[in-house]
Every structure is written in C-alpha cells, then in structure tokens.
C-alpha cells in the first residue's frame, strides 16, 4: 500500500472568505464476500481529499468516472457517512464539522446545503406532484407555516422559469429540461448557502443545456449562491466555474483558477485531460497534439504505490513510484498541485477555440 503521510494543509490560514473547508476527507466502501459478508478489502473512493470553497464562487470538481467526485459531493451533503476527515461549514460566524454529525444534529444544516442531481427522470418521485416534491423539505423541517407553502412553491417555480399553475402536475407531464428546473426549484426553495450540482446538465439535450446553465448562473447572482459544480464535461466546467479541483483515483491532484488550469496545467494528468477536449473548429484540427495515456485508470481498491498516476505518466521518474506527492501550494499563486515536478514541467493547455 502507498505511504500514508497525510496531505499538507492546503488552506491559507489568512483566508477568511471560506464557506466550506474539506479536510482529509476519506470515504472507503467495504468489499464483502461470501454468505456471511466478510470484509475482503476497501474501495478507497475518496482518499484523503482536501479543498475549500469560497463564498459566492463556483468551484468545479472534475475527473473521469470512478475518480470519486460524486462521492465527495455526497459526503458533503451527508448522503454518506464519511470514513474520516472533516467537512467544516462556516456560516454566520459559526463553524461546524458536518462530517461527524449524527443524523439528528444535521437537521438544521440540510436546508443550507442542497443538491441538484444528474438524472431529471430518476430524481423526481413520479408519484408526487411538483408541489409535493418542492414543498417536502419545508414540510419535514417545518421551515415556514404550512399555509405559506403554496405561495413559496409557486414563487420558486416561477423563478426557475415554469408556470406557477404547473405545481399541481405530476413529473411525467414535463420534458427533461423542465424536470431539471423542478430539481433546481427543490434545491433552492430553502434559500441554501451551498448548492452541490452533480452533473446537473450532463443528461440534457444540447439545446436545453444552455438554458439550464444560464438559469443556474442567473440564480447564483440573484441569491448570492455558492456552487460546487461536479462534472466530467470540461467545456461546461470552463464556462461556469471560477476555480477547479481535478481528481484522479480518489485524490485531488490539482486545484487552480479556471483560466490557469486550462492554459497552463501543472499536473501531467490535467494536461492529458486538456488535450482530450474536442476542438470545436474543424479548421483547427491540426493544432491538437493529443496525449495518449497508456494503460488503464488505477483500481481504487488496489492503487499503485507512490503517485497514483505514475504508471501512466510520461514524465514519471523513480521517485514517483515510491513517494506520494503531497498536494502543495505553489509559491505566490492561488493554486495547488500534487506532483513532485510541477515547477520543472512545461505542460500544454487546451487548444482555445
């Protein structure tokens, strides 16, 4: 197994504008076998992840399938009970650790952190009307008197661009894009501080995707929201995010402002991701110098030694196989990278189209 030195503390101590601070988050899923479910090992879905989200920003969380980005989102929303680490939520001068709270203590924070799901078909209960779906969180948490539900739901439904008359309808009456608006309404009805959008536009048609992205940006400005935007789609990340966290096999390998990340990546894996971004202009096809990654993504239940990326990295040296690079802050920059040779490498950004 790789060495267990925890990643260094990435948060600037002077930073005050932080809404959520994730520290050394771990989420292991047991692998069981046999009739009596003996534990044979663990899938290290999230393995020592640290990052923070500033108030009012949109933080992208990007990576390929199986890298643990969805698990990170669900740990923060506390759909899962994290195996270890802290999720510090700073609001109204208070600081609480959501990671270790029990279900009861979490109650008041459910309304502050809300989730937008990927699949607008499976995330709405087909047996409930739009009104019932959106007002559920108001009802179970008794946020406002029941007599005001109708007005509140009608308002929020209008804000996401649907007719208020629609609230008596069932989800089957709506198209994919309209359903996603309902999902957004359900997330925003509590006036949350942080919204976790997990692949919020990936399941939508191209022509509808732009509508939802614009709506989300509009609502962010209007209500001073903070987004954690989880996606595998780099062009969407590029469009909507301020900063981006890149994950690979359960670990953060790079954190940077969106412009820096796309123009001057510092981690070889980020570079490979950037080179895979499709170029939208057929006249610029020849500009693409695609980096072919050798081999397969590492198995999170049996990761390689040292840097998890070293078996596929074209710059790997002996050190990479032995020593795990910590996530460290680059001098004089607001960016973090987990690579021994970040300063020495000259890496290519995405082709701008």
């Amino acid at each position: 197994m790789a060495d267990q030195t925890p990643n260094t503390e990435p948060v600037d101590a002077a930073e005050e504008n932080i809404l959520l601070d994730v520290k050394n988050l771990k989420m292991f899923f047991p692998i069981t076998e046999g009739i009596f479910s003996q534990v044979k090992g663990y899938v290290r879905a999230v393995d020592d992840v640290s990052f923070f989200i500033r108030r009012g920003e949109t933080l992208g969380l990007v990576g390929e399938s199986g890298c643990g980005k969805t698990t990170v989102g669900r740990c923060i929303a506390r759909a899962y009970e994290p195996t270890g680490g802290q999720v510090l939520f700073h609001d109204n001068g208070r600081s609480v650790d959501l990671a270790q709270m029990d279900r009861k203590a979490l109650g008041p924070y459910r309304k502050d952190i809300r989730v937008i799901f990927q699949d607008p078909y499976s995330s709405l209960n087909p047996r409930m009307t739009v009104f019932e779906i959106v007002s559920e969180v108001l009802k179970v948490n008794k946020l406002i008197p029941e007599s005001e539900f109708e007005q509140r739901v009608a308002e929020i439904i209008q804000l996401v661009g649907l007719r208020p008359e629609y609230i008596r309808r069932y989800p089957h009456a709506f198209s994919g894009g309209e359903r996603q608006r309902i999902v957004i309404a359900r997330a925003l009805v509590t006036e949350p501080r942080l919204v976790i959008a997990d692949e919020a536009v990936s399941a939508l048609d191209v022509s509808v995707r732009a509508q939802i992205l614009n709506l989300m940006e509009d609502l962010r400005q209007r209500f001073d929201l903070t987004y954690l935007f989880i996606s595998h789609d780099l062009s969407v990340i590029r469009h909507i995010c301020d900063r981006v966290v890149v994950m690979y096999v359960g670990q953060v390998i790079e954190v940077a402002g969106v412009n820096d990340l796309f123009t001057t990546p510092q981690h070889p894996y980020t570079e490979a991701l950037m080179s895979a971004v499709p170029i939208l202009n057929p006249r610029q096809r020849h500009l693409q110098k695609r980096i072919r990654l050798e081999g397969e993504v590492a198995d999170p239940s049996n990761p390689p030694s040292g840097c998890y990326f070293h078996p596929r990295c074209r710059f790997a040296e002996a050190k990479c196989a032995v020593e795990k690079p910590p996530l460290r802050k680059l001098a004089n920059q607001d960016r973090y990278v987990a690579c021994h040779f970040a300063e020495e490498l000259d890496l290519q950004g995405a082709v701008m189209t």
Partner: protein, 384 residues
C-alpha cells in the same frame, strides 16, 4: 424567496406554444388515473376483470343465485344429466325445462336417462324456493332462478350421487374457494411486506436470517408437508376452524405463500434505495418512517397489487388440489375441491361427465384472474 420577480427570458416554457391546453387532463392525472387509462385499453384484462367481479358478486349472494340449497336432494334423481333450458314455448318467451324419464337396459339393468318431452317444468326468475338465511341476518326464500313450483327437478348442470343440484353447489362452493384465495393472500401479503420490508431496509444479519428462512421454506416439498399438517388437524374440528387452518397452511408454505411476497417486496426496496428521488427525500431530512411510507411504498404499491392478483389463482388452485385429495376441507363444507372428490372414480366420469363442471368453474376464474392480473401488472407502470 425575497424577490418575487419573474425571470423574463424569451422562450422559456412560460409561453410554450407546443403545449395545447387540451392535454392538461393527462398532465395532472395521478398514477391511479393513468393506470386505469392504460388498463382500460387491455381488452382481455378488462374481460377478465368483469368475469372476476361477476364471480365474487355471485359468491357474496350465493343463497340468492343458487336455485336450491347445497343440501337439498331428490333421491330419485341421482346422477341426473344436465337439463337444457328452453326459452320459447308456443312461440312466446316462457322458459322451461323438460322433465326426466328413464329406461332400464334389459340386459345390464343399467339406468339410462331420457328427456321426457311430455313433462314441462316451467322456470321463472325471482321465484320462491328453499328457505335460507343469508349471513344469519336475512331470511328469505327468494331465488334468482328456479322452477316455478317448488320441489320439481331443476338440474342445469346435472345432479350428483345424492341427487343434489351441481349448479347450486358450485355457486355455494365459490364462496369458500374464492375467499380462501383472498384471505390466504391477505395473510401472506401481511407477512411478506413485514418480512420483505425488514429484509430490504434493515439489511445486514436480519436480511441474512430472513433470506435463509425463505430458502428453507421454499425448499420443503409442498405436498408432503401439507399432508403432514392435514393429518395433524383433528377430525372433530368445526368446519370454520378447518377452513382457517387450511388458508393459514397455504399462506405459510407453498409457491404463492408469503415467501414469494417477501421476495417481491425486498427486491423493490433494494432497487428503490438506489433511486435518486429517495436520496433527495433523505437529503430533504425525511425520517426513515416517512421515507418508507411516503416515498417508497407508494412507488411499488401498484406492483404489489398486481402480484396479489396473480397470487390469488395460485391459492385457489392449491385449495382445490388439497381438498380434492381430501387433505383440506371436508364435507359438509362445499368447495370446488370437495365437489371434485366425487369425480375421483374414473368409471363415474365416463357415465356422468357433468361431475367435472366444478373444474370448469375453477378453470374460468383462474384464467380470468390471470388475465386481470396481467393487465394490472402492465398498467402498474404508466411511466414506461
């Protein structure tokens, strides 16, 4: 929200021209309405449903619909063949049946039934006949159909070894046979939802224990265990207690018992647990109780109903088989299985094939229930 302003962006569905208002019905229809619309299109299932409803209706009012009591007999008409109902007499509507005559074969002395066209037995609707007491409440002698003059032979489906009317006995039997299905399924459903729910929701060792128990029960061969249990039932128990014992046995052991329901319920819970809308409800802060009964159970209720409808015919068949073998209900209780006991002798069937009519009754209702259940199952998921 503080602001009440509407985001005015052109072309949002606020002014969607592709949605004419005539379709509003469909859009605000609840799941039950959608199910009904879909079910209505299923012709065979509709027919099945109507047949099933008719059966239960007749069973509820058995005393009224049966021309005679199940115990009424005329000893000179033993194994009498079915009479044909004639509708017209001298060109006008006046239903009647012909009387019986017989002759003896001079060699074998066997009795051969003949139709005696000289004797006309007038038949009427809403006639006075045997007196009965329905559910210990209503005493009457009014029958839906029967001979206008009490005591005349009236055997639409023939008579049995004691000269009792098979038609009347089939009607009385339906009450027992059809409710064995219902009561049995109700018991197995309750047990199944309880155990399946526990298994699917709690998981861990509880799930393990329940699943092993189900496998154990399912691997016991049905017939021998029924035999053993039937042998344990004391011979002097009252009919009602035997009846409940039989349904209980059917509900606990067998193909359509609670084990089947428990597996259906468990698999539903397991698949629903993965659905995003359940996760969303959990993140809304719903309690476990609310999660189960508000968000999960309604999603598979229609499937449970379909499974139930499909389990009832199995129960009916099982009861019939059990009673046929003499293991379940016994005379004087009348059920289809009990009646079919008479047809165990092959020789009798050759001379009196009408003894098999109770089998036809079983056949029709089981088929109808299956069509009905299939239709419900198809309609149960109106979103696909």
């Amino acid at each position: 929200m503080a602001q009440k302003q509407v985001i005015q962006q052109p072309g949002l569905p606020l002014s969607d021209p592709t949605q004419p208002s005539t379709t509003v019905d469909l859009e605000i229809a609840s799941q039950w309405k959608l199910m009904w619309w879909k079910f209505r299109k299923h012709k065979l299932a509709m027919a099945g449903g109507i047949v099933v409803l008719l059966y239960y209706f007749v069973a509820i009012l058995a005393e009224f619909f049966a021309p005679s009591l199940p115990t009424t007999y005329i000893d000179q008409y033993v194994f009498a063949p079915p009479q044909r109902l004639q509708f017209f007499q001298d060109g006008r509507f006046d239903p009647f049946v012909y009387g019986y005559g017989f002759e003896r074969d001079p060699v074998s002395f066997k009795k051969t039934w003949l139709v005696d066209e000289e004797t006309v037995i007038p038949v009427g609707l809403f006639v006075r006949g045997d007196e009965y007491t329905m559910y210990g409440l209503i005493t009457s002698d009014l029958h839906f159909i029967g001979p206008e003059e009490k005591g005349q032979p009236f055997y639409l489906l023939g008579s049995d070894k004691s000269g009792r009317d098979i038609f009347s006995r089939i009607i009385y039997s339906s009450r027992v046979s059809l409710t064995v299905g219902l009561v049995g399924v109700a018991i197995s459903l309750t047990l199944g939802i309880l155990m399946g729910g526990l298994s699917g929701l709690v998981g861990g060792w509880v799930d393990n224990v329940i699943q092993r128990l189900i496998e154990l029960l399912m691997s016991i061969p049905n017939l021998p265990i029924w035999l053993a249990l039937a042998a344990v039932v004391p011979i002097d128990w009252p009919a009602l207690r035997v009846y409940f014992m039989t349904t209980l046995i059917l509900a606990v052991i067998g193909q359509y018992s609670w084990t089947y329901m428990a597996r259906v319920v468990r698999s539903r819970f397991l698949s629903l647990r993965e659905e995003d809308f359940v996760l969303a409800a959990m993140l809304d802060g719903c309690s476990t109780w609310r999660l189960i009964f508000k968000h999960m159970v309604p999603s598979f209720l229609s499937h449970i109903i379909a499974s139930v409808t499909l389990a009832i015919p199995g129960m009916i068949i099982a009861e019939t088989a059990l009673s046929f073998l003499g293991l379940g209900l016994r005379p004087p209780v009348v059920s289809w299985g009990v009646m079919l006991q008479d047809s165990q002798k092959v020789g009798l069937i050759a001379t009196s094939p009408w003894l098999l009519y109770p089998g036809l009754a079983v056949f029709i209702v089981v088929l109808a229930l299956n069509f009905f259940g299939d239709g419900i199952r198809d309609a149960a998921d109106p979103y696909h």
